[in-house]
């Protein structure tokens, strides 16, 4: 069992929550006391030995960590490189999201909160939040875009079965962005007894940093597992998909200061970067403020947030986390735009080659492999963030 969460990196957030020129806490005064309370206490809370013991114990016994690092031989042969899959799809509830919700529910308990509010896109974060609320006996309210509720119905049913109230966000594009707006409003209306469990490395400081720390268990395990399998802790490439970017932040975390590791982020290009139906934030966005932080944002010339589109509900978001904006801005990360069709093809390919049906989000990361000009000696670790059961209805339309 691990005992500490790593806390140092040159990509470390400043005390005001900035990674380079991105981050901060752009919040209405109504949220200031909550966010400030969290900012002042989160590092102490998660550093406390009792927290650490409970966190790591739950990751091991409840989540099922460490997740395997699987050498995908047939996929490797296909791309002519050595490709390992970090199997976050094998986490309890089917995705990496639970690493963070376990951490945040423990923080919420220590802050004396009685109710949890969350937003969800694909439903994976909602399910992970409903799960930890059931585990800890806290009330759970999840906001989900009305459109996402339709396309991810199994996850809506799972959340309800776990005792959560799922509220349809009917404003705007009725997807993740609007679910986030509604969850923030709920928090504004219930500031004292409610904790908002944000599901990605977005939102006002300290959320991006806190979520990245909880997800950093992914890269921490990869280093150890890779060393055991190859004798070397670092791969040549670490690949992950980025919507808000929590699985990518977790997969990159312990490699941020290792320039020999190229950090590869796959964004959702939807029907094509220039099609008008896309969520490829770094390709289409520019610096702006949304949901509490300054980041790269898809927006009109007038600063109105553009409606994103992706076949994958989890990547259907017009921004990225401020850490990722900084990785892009500084050139530390390579960002690829993956279309719906490319992601679908990659999802089918992995299913047939390795017997693993990936989440559509993870399928975007898989599709990046064909764009990376891989060499025979390259060692690649790809974060397989979630399993594809929830996406079967989408996949089945293209069988």
């Amino acid at each position: 069992m691990q005992t500490t969460i790593e806390q140092t990196t040159s990509f470390e957030v400043s005390d005001k929550g900035f990674y380079g020129r991105f981050g901060g806490a752009f919040i209405p005064e109504m949220l200031y006391p909550n966010v400030e309370e969290l900012r002042q206490s989160y590092l102490d809370i998660i550093a406390a030995p009792t927290f650490q013991t409970e966190f790591w114990q739950l990751l091991e016994d409840y989540v099922g960590r460490p997740t395997p690092l699987f050498l995908a031989k047939r996929l490797s042969a296909e791309f002519g490189a050595t490709i390992y899959l970090k199997r976050e799809d094998l986490c309890h509830t089917g995705a990496h999201k639970i690493n963070n919700t376990i951490g945040q529910i423990l923080v919420a308990q220590r802050l004396g909160k009685k109710r949890i509010v969350a937003e969800t896109g694909a439903g994976q974060h909602g399910v992970a939040t409903a799960t930890v609320c059931a585990l800890m006996g806290l009330e759970c309210i999840v906001y989900m875009g009305a459109i996402d509720m339709e396309r991810q119905k199994p996850n809506v049913d799972r959340m309800r079965m776990l005792g959560a109230t799922v509220v349809a966000a009917k404003s705007g594009s009725q997807t993740l962005k609007d679910a986030t707006n509604e969850a923030m409003r709920h928090w504004i209306n219930n500031p004292i007894d409610t904790h908002y469990i944000i599901g990605s490395v977005v939102g006002p400081h300290p959320y991006p940093d806190m979520v990245a720390r909880f997800q950093s268990v992914i890269s921490q395990e990869v280093r150890k597992q890779l060393a055991e399998k190859t004798g070397k802790e670092t791969p040549d490439y670490m690949v992950a998909c980025v919507g808000g970017g929590s699985n990518a932040a977790g997969a990159f975390y312990h490699f941020l200061n290792e320039p020999s590791v190229r950090l590869v982020a796959a964004e959702a290009a939807g029907q094509g970067v220039t099609s008008g139906h896309s969520a490829a934030t770094t390709a289409l966005g520019k610096p702006g403020v949304l949901h509490g932080s300054r980041t790269i944002l898809m927006q009109t010339e007038d600063g109105q947030v553009t409606e994103p589109y992706s076949i994958s509900a989890g990547l259907d978001y017009p921004g990225i986390g401020p850490l990722h904006a900084h990785l892009f801005d500084s050139g530390r990360g390579d960002f690829y735009a993956i279309t719906d069709d490319e992601a679908l093809a990659a999802g089918f390919q992995l299913s047939k080659l390795e017997g693993i049906i990936p989440a559509l989000e993870s399928a975007h990361a898989l599709a990046a492999l064909s764009k990376m000009n891989l060499q025979a000696e390259d060692v690649v670790v790809l974060c397989l963030s979630g399993r594809g059961d929830k996406d079967l209805s989408t996949y089945s339309k293209h069988l």
């Binding site: 200031y32 909550n34 404003s171 004292i192 007038d302 600063g303």
Partner: protein
């Protein structure tokens, strides 16, 4: 604090009148794109003390359904900051009431802070309310620009704001303090509860240097009257938007609304 802004219609107003001030919010470009000046004229004719013009935004998280919908309609109508400044270009030839612009930081950042403040000054906007611009960031990066153009930046306080922070906000404000009546988004509460009165009394007893206007949940004569007992006046928003939607933008309609609030 650096030099206070003293010559401004808002500070002038408060130096002349310090009770029962009525500030009315409406969304620029709502219900029709060209309604901004119509509503502004109507409000002035109806005798409101200040006017708050909403700069529409796609994701107004501190606002409730009514204002969000009006923002959406205005954006669909083609409203933008550029269009708003064009509509207000000659407003000071006829409008004497102080004007504030209220909105979110992203469209202002894209317009450019310096450009925004310069245009505010050029058309005669006196103050700005940007709920998601953090106070420290305003002080660190933007306050100098606001002061250069004589534009007041109005800050919010809520029932959860600590006394220490209220003192700090009071010190760093000129114009007035926007007292959010309860933990809420706009248009989501009606009536004034005992805890709200407790909060109003607490702030009243702090003897702040700035005047205070109470907003959120002020939607009729009773709530306006109560708020005015504890502060220098109040701000009405969602209720007016609903009125415009149902009763239209004629001077008579606007005057009738203002009368029901002031009674």
């Amino acid at each position: 604090m650096t030099t206070a802004i003293t010559q401004n219609r808002i500070t002038d107003l408060f130096s002349q009148k310090n009770e029962r001030l009525l500030n009315v919010y409406f969304t620029a470009g709502f219900p029709k794109l060209d309604d901004t000046m119509t509503v502004l004229r109507g409000l002035q004719a109806a005798g409101v003390d200040l006017v708050e013009i909403g700069m529409p935004y796609s994701d107004p998280v501190a606002d409730g359904e009514t204002i969000q919908q009006s923002n959406g309609v205005a954006l669909d109508n083609g409203m933008s900051l550029k269009a708003l400044f064009a509509q207000l270009a000659d407003c000071r030839q006829e409008i004497t009431v102080p004007i504030l612009l209220m909105g979110y930081i992203n469209p202002v950042l894209q317009f450019g802070i310096d450009n925004f403040c310069r245009m505010c000054q050029a058309v005669g906007v006196d103050g700005v309310i940007l709920p998601d611009l953090p106070l420290y960031l305003y002080l660190d990066e933007y306050a100098e620009t606001f002061r250069k153009y004589g534009i007041l930046n109005v800050h919010l306080i809520t029932p959860q704001t600590s006394d220490e922070r209220i003192r700090f906000i009071d010190e760093e404000s000129d114009g007035f303090i926007y007292m959010v009546s309860s933990a809420s988004i706009t248009g989501s509460v009606s009536g004034i509860s005992d805890p709200m009165r407790g909060y109003f009394e607490r702030i009243q007893e702090m003897n702040l240097r700035n005047p205070r206007l109470i907003g959120f949940g002020i939607n009729n004569h009773e709530t306006f009257d109560t708020a005015s007992q504890y502060a220098n006046g109040a701000i009405v928003g969602s209720a007016f938007i609903r009125h415009l939607e149902k009763q239209g933008t004629s001077p008579e309609s606007i005057s009738a609304f203002v009368k029901t609030i002031r009674a």
